[in-house]
């Protein structure tokens, strides 16, 4: 596993799946947790790793927290490179799984 690729565990794949479901959309950590059913203890380490290797990017909400009446959300979005490499990884994985299943 290089520095430019995260460990593709089942949980990581789940997170990637949510991010790639609508690549143009930004989703918060709580929304990803709700869709993946991952606990916060697992989720945020995966998100940080994806961000560090450049597969995902994040930003704070631009709205003022005082006007929102709640803490700002951190919004995540998959990057172009991340989407391509994630797709390739999904493809490799599915083909490996297919060969394994075929044999």
């Amino acid at each position: 596993m290089g520095k430019d690729q995260p460990r593709l565990t089942a949980q990581t794949l789940k997170v990637l799946g949510v991010l790639m479901a609508s690549p143009e959309c930004e989703v918060s950590g709580s929304e990803i947790a709700r869709n993946t059913k991952l606990a916060s203890g697992t989720l945020y380490l995966i998100l940080l790793r994806l961000e560090e290797v450049g597969w995902a990017k994040s930003r704070w909400e631009t709205e003022d927290p005082s006007k929102l009446g709640r803490p700002r959300r951190r919004l995540y979005q998959i990057t172009g490179g991340g989407a391509a490499r994630a797709s390739a990884a999904f493809h490799d994985l599915s083909s490996s799984m297919g060969r394994f299943a075929w044999r």
């Binding site: 918060s28 950590g29 709580s30 929304e31 947790a33 606990a39 916060s40 203890g41 697992t42 989720l43 945020y44 380490l45 940080l48 790793r49 704070w60 709640r70 803490p71 700002r72 959300r73 951190r74």
Partner: protein, 475 residues
Amino acid sequence: MAVIVAVVIFLLGIVAAAASRLLADEFKAWIPWTVDRLIRRAVGRLPADRRERLNEEWRSHVNDVPGEVGKLAVALGTLLAAGRVRADCYGRRFDGVLSRFLEIVSYAAYLIVGYAALVVLGVAFFILAAIPLRILLPWILVIAIAALGTVISARQDRVLRMPRLYLFYVALAGSIQLIQYIQGPRAVEAYWAFELVDSFLLCLMSLELVYRLIPLVATIVSAIGACILASILTGLRQGLGASTAMIDLEINLRTLIIMGILLSGLLLSRRGWDEWPRESKRVFCGVCLLTLSGTIISAVWFSNLLGNRWIWQFFCQVSTVPGLLYLMLASRDSYSQGRINLKRQGGDPELRTEVKISPLLPDLFGEAIRKAKEEGFLLWPDVTALTTNFDEINKQESRRNPNKSHMTFTATDLANALYSGQAKRADKSSDGSGWLLDISGPSTDAILLNVCLFMPFNGPLVFTSFSPMLEPCLL
């Protein structure tokens, strides 16, 4: 009976319902506080560069979760997340969590062992510095110190022979044995006079060595130990996720503390506390205060850096403890060579001396002195000459400080003056006015006893009167 039981059950049910409602409300009321504490604790476990971001992000996540129990579950999850993020961060920094774990364990082991060694060394040095004349040293240590003395004496073309070595040993062990030694051959014989006087100088030099060197060595050991521990702690702190800027700041502060300890130790090793000018004492106290303040500030920094891990704070602070402990102990005059105060007693500043011995002396040496007298050894009452060059010293001191009411000399100064022949004979003053020699300090006893015992063979020396405490056993 059944009716009563039914009523009781009914009432208990009402109470239980009310209580459960109360408990539930109470539980619900405490959840926001609990969530806040959990997140705060989780954030505290994170590496410093991740704290701000994840703090807000986790609070936002908790806010998005419906229901109080759900919030609590997410908050508990952040604790787990913090541990994983931290482990992941360290794992990448040191190529694996395992190596990082081993590194921290080894650092902690070094720290514990190093600190224990420093404490042992510090206590040992203090004991040696405080009571070298009161204990019987192991022969191997005596040989080692005497060998060091041989190096010095060899420079002066002196040969260390067994009687001198023995004399040195008994001088370190206490003057009682010295007296017992010279009970045998009569000191009036020229050979023994020569031996004793030379040995006295050797003893004197060796005592100088012990009293000047030990505090210096203790300080250097403490400073080096503190530096080593500080470097170990640097690695430990980096592993614990403190930011580089804070670490640098803390290390700089610690360096200043170590420098303060070193400087103070050097100053202390030059002269005893008693002998310091008042200004120097003030400066020294200022340095100690700064050192203490620096340590407190440092502790606060650690508190910020390391959160509530008090055990790490404790270990991180111990590196300066030996140095501070030494400073505290060394500031006492226990290792000082003692003090001779020359006080003006009356209108006649001429040469009348009075010797006051530490109260310990009669207790420790009284019996030996009495026994020596019974053996016919030449002792204090037999010495009839007065020795001093203090009038010249007094004139110099008076020019420097006209208002000074007394003068301070070390016992070594006195012995040097006597031995080098600078002392001169003088008559007793009949009116009781003159000078008062006030001698105190544990090591002074032995030095003074050496002076009194050896000087009769080398030159004139008299002490016209003694402190009342000593008189019954001597006069």
